[in-house]
């Protein structure tokens, strides 16, 4: 999931011809002063933190300025912030427009329909979850047909637009569709979309590019998502690794089995702290790597729950034993194992030799993991 900062989303919209406020990304108060002095960003202007979390307005991460000095001041204030845990590094300065109405429009995937879904509402500028269902129009777009004229007309009518704004909206919807469809969008959302005279202007841009399509988008290779440092390392090594609030580490293979394991731990009073999905690997080195990463997360105990299908049990056991040798003394943790499936006997034997007992039942082993987690100190 590649979440684009507002300015990147807007650059993408601009590529498809969308009308946007005049603006500029800056990274310092001096720059903010310079671009407003030069008139590149007309005054009065808006100074916005380029962070991914929502609620910037309420959180003081959006300010207004009428002079270059005020722009510099606002920039300085926002750059000093840490917004919902994220350091502000970039600001977007944009002309302040005389806004009429505020609308909402978004394209995303409807998994059930297996079609892109266009949604629009006359109630923009608020959280869309709070808007009543009957105030949102839904249009399913067939990828082979594209966004049809009738679909655009229906949205425009629902939004109550006529004349100039209706024409502009027709164009904008096509641009939004092209952005979503051609750029591998997972989400292309504009909230608010403002009517400014006859123009319709995207005041914000929330664009998410599908992670799986990244092979088509080297231009986003530099984007670090909101991952923790360990998650980032895991990502680079191709391991699915997620940090949660608890203290028990979980290593499983496959999303479903991983979730079922977390469910069981929680059911018996445990708090999963990190989980790691081995997927379908059959390379012991990768298993070792995963274990060492898990050790770095300093879990109170680790519950290994693997079913050998594509992955063989002996592969996992070998990788685990190798990892245990490499884990520094201060990073060691109690290990509860449950391995079953392909080459189960060999795997269990390898583990036993290394002093690890593999239990057969999920209930029994989950309870043991919870006990170990509660007993162990961080």
């Amino acid at each position: 999931m590649v979440k684009l900062a507002e300015w990147r989303g807007k650059e993408l919209f601009r590529k498809y011809g969308m009308s946007l406020p005049r603006g500029r990304v800056v990274r310092s108060a001096d720059e903010a002063k310079a671009v407003t002095e030069s008139g590149e960003v007309p005054l009065p202007c808006v100074v916005k933190a380029q962070v991914l979390a929502g609620g910037r307005g309420k959180g003081g991460a959006v300010r207004f300025a009428s002079t270059p000095a005020e722009a510099a001041e606002a920039a300085r204030a926002i750059l000093d912030m840490e917004f919902k845990g994220e350091k502000v590094k970039e600001l977007l300065l944009e002309e302040k427009l005389a806004i009429g109405r505020e609308l909402y429009v978004a394209l995303t995937l409807d998994r059930s329909a297996r079609l892109p879904l266009l949604m629009a509402s006359p109630q923009g500028g608020v959280e869309i979850e709070t808007v009543p269902d009957d105030q949102i129009v839904r249009i399913w777009v067939h990828p082979f047909a594209g966004l049809s004229g009738w679909q655009k007309r229906r949205v425009i009518k629902f939004l109550g637009l006529t004349g100039g704004p209706a024409k502009t909206m027709d164009t904008l919807l096509e641009q939004l569709w092209r952005t979503f469809h051609l750029e591998d969008g997972e989400l292309a959302e504009i909230n608010p979309l403002a009517i400014v005279g006859d123009r319709i202007v995207a005041l914000d841009a929330k664009v998410i590019i599908e992670d799986d399509a990244s092979f088509r988008h080297p231009e986003y290779a530099d984007i670090r998502d909101d991952r923790t440092p360990l998650e980032e390392i895991a990502r680079e090594e191709g391991i699915a690794f997620v940090q949660l609030d608890g203290n028990i580490g979980v290593i499983a293979n496959g999303a479903g089995l991983t979730m079922a394991t977390l469910d069981a731990l929680q059911q018996f009073g445990g708090r999963p702290g990190v989980f790691l999905d081995l997927g379908g690997t059959d390379d012991p080195a990768k298993v070792t790597q995963a274990f060492l990463l898990m050790a770095k997360a300093r879990p109170a105990a680790v519950f290994l729950n693997v079913f050998g299908g594509v992955t063989r049990c002996d592969t996992v056991a070998k990788g685990l034993v190798e990892a245990m040798k490499q884990v520094p003394a201060n990073e060691r943790f109690p290990l509860i194992a449950r391995i079953r499936g392909n080459n189960e006997t060999e795997g269990i034997a390898i583990l036993r030799e290394a002093g690890v007992i593999s239990m057969r039942e999920l209930e029994e082993s989950a309870k043991a993991a919870v006990a170990a987690g509660n007993g162990g100190a961080r």
């Binding site: 879904l117 869309i128 808007v131 299908g309 594509v310």
Partner: protein
Amino acid sequence: MSVLVDAETRVLVQGITGHQGTVHTVQMQKFGTQVVAGATPGKGGTTVEGVPVFDSVAEAVQKTRANATCIFVPAPYAKDAFFEAADAGIKLAVIVTEHIPFHDMLAMYHYGQLRGARIIGPNCPGIASPGKAKVGIIPNVVFHPGRVGVISRSGTLTYEIVSGIKDVGLGQSTCMGLGGDPVVGTSFVDALPYFEKDPETDILVLVGEIGGTAEEEAAEYLRHNFTKPVIAYIAGRSAPPGKRMGHAGAIIARGRGTAQSKREALESAGAQVANFPYEIPTLVKERLAAGPAR
């Protein structure tokens, strides 16, 4: 009769010359599947594990009468591989490849609709009917011929459940792993009619997980169109509420998509929902003992 695959299934493996393709070709053969051809551009004329490899699917189909394909080719080329199979007249494609962009899958799914080609997957374990054929990667060891049908969005978890069914002395009619990607070729609702019609299936195990609304839609289908008993399980009830699709996603879901909503939907449609996967085999056994009517 079984579901979608049977003794007449003649499997083509696209990407047979890759590591995964070769490994699973052997496993499909050991299962008793007729693996009749492989296809890898530029590798035509070679053989892999005794299976002739062709440069193109059209040639493979013409020479071997392959009627199903198992696709292992890497994600950037998967769409093209499926189009090739569909254009060559293949009507069943199991796509094992993971990380296929959903925009590609949208095109593949709808193109499949046009060509009458069903996709199972992507990122899925595939389909198997013990004693008949397997197209995909579900481990052979978990199977035993029997009368329990299984459909699942999970991979490994399914293997464990299927294996458990064998451990309690039962067997499976057909097991279908649909994959958990945002866009899948075959959903629960698409798969259920086959199991309803299949005379070899007495009871169905349905393994779902959080995210999307496929289980809620399955429940609707079960309520109105399904007569056999159903034992279900939903993984992920401890997971923090998924925000994968952001705000817009939340309006699509509108409160559905959680483990709780899925469980309630299935129960209200008459399915028995297990708390843990390991309970399923026992529940199946008990339910079968209670008699055939739902």
